[in-house]
């Protein structure tokens, strides 16, 4: 027998008190784990969603603008320089140092063509890459499939489909000069509020055929995939590989992502701290009530030779055991709760975060021990002569 077994036997005898104290920790630990698990899942989901927002580096041919001034009045600008990127050059982008972070490289070719008798903006894309970049688009119908330059599938934005009465399966003809493309509408993009609402989107090869720009693209939209993308650095690396091109980081998107994640983390931390304090108070009050019941036993132990250190050690051990039990149970209950709450509150399905189990248990053990401080102080004030005389 040792001090540990005395404590274990004592708390196993006081099952109701033990359950109340452990429940206090369980509630706190479960809430803590649920918050962390849910927010982590939400943050990851947020990050994944943010990846679907679009490109965060845009590569275009370098152009220079010359301001046109008539007297003291500005008359716009004149742009000079090559307006296209050679499609054959695109693979060279995979030679940059951060090539592992290149998740999507989507070439685009822009031009204006006639649909019916109306001029429309046409965007040629690589359907496979574009689908990754615009995974969040809602399509009535399906993504287009390339069938050939003269007969192909296309997609249209809602601002074009509505007025022109186009829908999935409609057959249209695109005309640019003497070139015609017969196309079937694979899908209508539901309004995004973006430029694509007014675009006709067709496969890159078909657009190149339509505009007579075989082997050429207007721009590259690049999605870099990483938590803290060095987009500025990646842009610099791209410009090194393509001296005549201009790579612009769309840092605002990245900044917004980070801000959202930081806000989520801050909220989780604030809630966690409050819950921990509540937990400590719960355990302290339960243990204090327990001390009141144990005054006689503590008096006996002191009479038969227990030192102050031994009495305090036993109380700390009791607090630690309550904390450990509460922490472990709370982890599983909190994880279970997050599986129910997260889909309802943040529309994500979380995964158990096993790596926080030791941390949660450790925090709960420390909380239990900290909660033992006040009861320990009270126990040290117990006068065995007085206690044993009055019972």
């Amino acid at each position: 027998m040792n001090l540990h077994s005395i404590v274990l036997k004592d708390i196993s005898r006081r099952k109701t008190k033990l359950i109340v104290a452990v429940l206090g920790v369980v509630v706190a630990a479960a809430a803590l784990v649920a918050v962390v698990t849910t927010f982590t899942a939400a943050t990851e989901s947020l990050y994944e969603e943010s990846n679907t927002f679009g490109a965060n580096i845009v590569v275009k041919p370098e152009t220079r603008s010359i301001p046109l001034v008539a007297g003291s009045t500005s008359a716009g600008s004149l742009f000079t320089g090559e307006n296209y990127i050679e499609e054959s050059e695109i693979p060279r982008i995979y030679t940059i140092e951060n090539k592992a972070n290149l998740a999507v490289v989507a070439p685009r070719l822009y031009g204006i063509a006639e649909l019916g008798n109306s001029p429309v903006v046409v965007m040629g894309v690589d359907p496979e890459e574009e689908m990754k970049l615009k995974a969040w688009w809602n399509i009535r119908g399906h993504w287009m499939a390339e069938e050939g330059p003269e007969k192909t599938e296309i997609m249209v934005g809602s601002d074009i489909a509505g007025p022109m009465g186009l829908e999935e399966g409609s057959l249209v003809t695109l005309k640019q000069g003497d070139v015609y493309i017969d196309a079937r509408i694979a899908g209508v993009i539901e309004s995004t509020g973006g430029n694509e609402d007014g675009y006709v989107i067709l496969p890159l090869a078909a657009s190149q055929y339509l505009f007579g720009k075989e082997g050429k693209v207007s721009s590259l939209e690049i999605r870099a995939l990483c938590n803290d993308c060095p987009v500025e650095e990646m842009s610099r690396q791209i410009m090194e590989v393509f001296p005549g091109l201009e790579a612009r980081p769309m840092s605002q998107i990245v900044q917004n992502e980070m801000t959202m994640i930081e806000h989520a983390q801050s909220s989780a931390m604030a809630v966690s701290v409050i819950i921990l304090l509540v937990s400590a108070l719960t355990v302290a009050s339960t243990m204090l009530a327990s001390i009141n019941e144990k005054i006689k036993e503590i008096g006996i132990m002191r009479a038969v030779g227990a030192s102050d250190t031994q009495i305090v050690s036993m109380l700390f051990l009791e607090g630690a055991i309550i904390g450990a039990l509460g922490g472990i149970l709370g982890f599983f209950i909190g994880t279970g709760a997050s599986f129910i709450a997260a889909p309802l509150t943040v529309s994500v399905t979380p995964s158990p975060i096993w790596m926080i189990l030791p941390a949660v248990s450790g925090i709960c053990i420390l909380t239990g021990m900290a909660a033992s401080l006040v009861p320990a102080r009270k126990a040290l004030g117990i006068d065995p002569a007085e206690v044993l005389r009055s019972v």
Binding site: A303, G305, L388
Partner: protein, 223 residues
Amino acid sequence: MSEGPEKLIRVKDVAKGYRIGSHEVEVLHGINLEVREREFISIMGQSGSGKTTLMNLIGMLDRPDSGRILFNDVDITGKTQKELVEFRRRTVGFVFQQFHLIPSLTAYENVAMPLVFAGDKDHDAVASALERVGLAHRMDHKPVELSGGEQQRVAIARAIVMKPKILLADEPTGALDAATGLRIISLLKSLSGDMTVVMVTHNRELASYSDRIVHIQDGNIAE
């Protein structure tokens, strides 16, 4: 009273009072008492006469307000709290009226408790102590499974497991029937062959089994 090496305990001019509300009540007024080695004495007196207070002072569960208590000619009233813990562990055994066993522990574990607190790893003394009180066969039982007399015998085993010099028993038969009480007194009498026994009681018949009876009246010795 003569002084000599056989005097184990000497209580000299000890006074002790308690604060009750705003009033200071002196319970003992300059008590003097000497107890020899292996002597079995009974302290008798009416309720509130100060007999339990005197016993607690001898066992250093409490400190006197004035006066000195000498153990083997060494003044123990000035010892530090840590020294007193060690003194109680090694020198004094306590037996209480209400037994005061830990309910969650078996008889064996209750008896072993002083050894655990003293850091002694050798628990052979537990079985010996239980055997001495005739309860070796009940060592795995918890207090609730034992009769009142058996519980008090376990408490006595716990008190003697460290082989103390002094056994202090406060109304050890107060919660027992007469027959069981006599068995306990008989046990204490036999233990006094190895140690000094100081028993507080208000039962004259039980006190008559001791070597000497000390009467306390209004905080003074009236031997």
